[in-house]
Symmetry: none
Subunit: 182 residues, 4 copies
DNA sequence: AATGAATGAGCATTCATTCAT
DNA sequence: AATGAATGAATGCTCATTCAT
């Protein structure tokens, strides 16, 4: 799995073959077919492992410091950039026989809904200004796209000043969400 | 080219083969090899055509109504969603033999720099609050990611309420950029 | 197709791979995939070509000499032994994903029904003794099995005395079918 | 062995893999490789076990009721249809590296010679009309093919009326062999 | 005695590309 | 200008077998 993630992160989803992964893992190609029933299964495993890691990192962190969700997200990404990037690659490229994206809606549930929930909670507590249901979703999407974009930027520019970047994102979304600004 | 775009839009970059494109175009597969030296060349052409279309649409529009850049961008996308989506797919998947993304930095120049320039101009004119150079780039990236995310969302949900979505994005970035909010 | 037939005849259905056929045909393996959509399609073609050849050989012969159907059948087989054997191999080995024989019932229609029809006609004309419907089928099956067995024997022993063998079969089935014997 | 037989009977020789057998037997695949030196050895065992069962069933039966050999054969088959079918599949598909059928002549010795012997005996005793050596073999082959065909038909149509079918076969071969008919 | 792990060989198939026409 | 034919390379995958435990 680790090598799968690294391979995807390095050469991209489309170029990731069992052979590539095997070469990186220094094992025979068939070992992978032996452990997984499908190539699809390997790719499916990548988001699943990510969700687990995400869950076990995020939940306690968010409870500890309720006010800084963005910081928590971005810290996790910075520390797991390859895995997160592999997930993004997989999510946005894995398609069924009919050409439809297979994992997109599942990914929404795990990465979009939580953001929407945080926004909703913030509104209830009066910390965020009122969104209507539609604009809350747009806000959540925008935040997720910013986070994913952060991941991609991090992969392209490994020496990115993470703190600086994070601060930038926080300022942007604070301004957009804080109630005193409207 | 048209068929390439439609194929990418429908089945994604990774599943787009010369055969797929040829079948859609109702021509022989080799005709494509005949017109283009490479598969890479076809895909490279997609962003190029897009930039041209973008240029000839955007420039006059921006000059006509200086204050509503976001609206101009999103209108263009809504009307060229397949092409824009194909560009995003191509940009984020086309890689060289070394695994590096081939078109990403070129794409930045055409899609990121213009946004940065608009922001810089806004600051000069006092319409936007001061960004430092770093946060201006973060802002530009975030805006572009939001725009690209809009495209993707548009492809996944063809009946998306475009006006509503657009208004949501405008509000978000107005709040983040307008000087009176900090 | 010719090489497919020869390969099946020589190494059997189970050992016949595209590579084997290609080697025999002295062409690249992919040429076959290029001409046929499927491996299944090649195998499907073998009985089809056989039925055509059978039809164009049998029909005129049977009309010319109505009384000697067995002779007509066995002559055809002796002259097309490889093809007939390949058909038998294919018929009795080609199976679907569920494990069911795919071509057996289709083969019955082309090879069993005609025999049943000849028997029925013989009964009508008083040349053959009365079979009930069930025993007519058993008779037809037995004749077909004898004919197929002739093919297999012919492949195993290329120098088989065909005339002698044919005469033997004719005697057996004459005795079983002629009305004066019951 | 039992599972091998069932697997062959169900999916055919060509589709029978060690994995398939192991799955049916609920054991690890390598257990088979552990007990048998070869895949070939397993398949070779199937006819051997069959011959044993055949021997211990047929010999006493034939001695008890000398006149009804066909009935004895067909009864045995009806009661061991899966095994007999597996033998037929194995005999007609198992091939050596040179492509030659490995078990065919061995099978002839056990299944063809006995029939020839019965015919010869019948002739001696004046019960059957005179065959020359060649036609006796043809007769024996035809009977065996009829018997094998009965097995195959039994597998394809599990609700076959066995008695009816048996009676049909007996009539056919009685007419062909009884001396009073020529 | 039994088995999980591993592997080389072979399979059908897809693909971008070359070539001759 | 256009195309059918052909092909090497690579892909995901199955399989019988070996090995270490």
């Amino acid at each position: 799995m680790e090598c799968s993630i690294e391979t995807i992160a390095e050469v991209g989803y489309a170029q990731t073959s069992l052979g590539q992964i095997a070469k990186r893992a220094n094992i025979s190609k068939v070992v992978i077919s032996y452990r997984f029933t499908n190539k699809k299964e390997i790719f499916a495993q990548i988001p699943i492992e990510y969700y687990k890691a995400w869950q076990s990192f995020i939940t306690p962190q968010l409870e500890a410091q309720k006010r800084n969700a963005s910081g928590v997200f971005l810290t996790f990404i910075a520390e797991n950039r390859k895995h997160v990037f592999a997930v993004i690659e997989t999510i946005s490229n894995q398609r069924g026989a009919d050409g439809k994206l297979l994992l997109a809606s599942e990914h929404d549930e795990t990465s979009l809904l939580p953001i929407e929930n945080i926004l909703t909670l913030g509104i209830k507590e009066g910390l965020l200004h009122e969104f209507n249901r539609s604009s809350a979703r747009v806000m959540a999407l925008t935040i997720r796209n910013a986070i994913d974009g952060f991941t991609i930027e991090l992969m392209r520019q490994p020496h990115l000043d993470i703190k600086e970047f994070t601060r930038g994102l926080v300022i942007i979304f604070d301004a957009s969400t804080k109630s005193n600004c409207h």
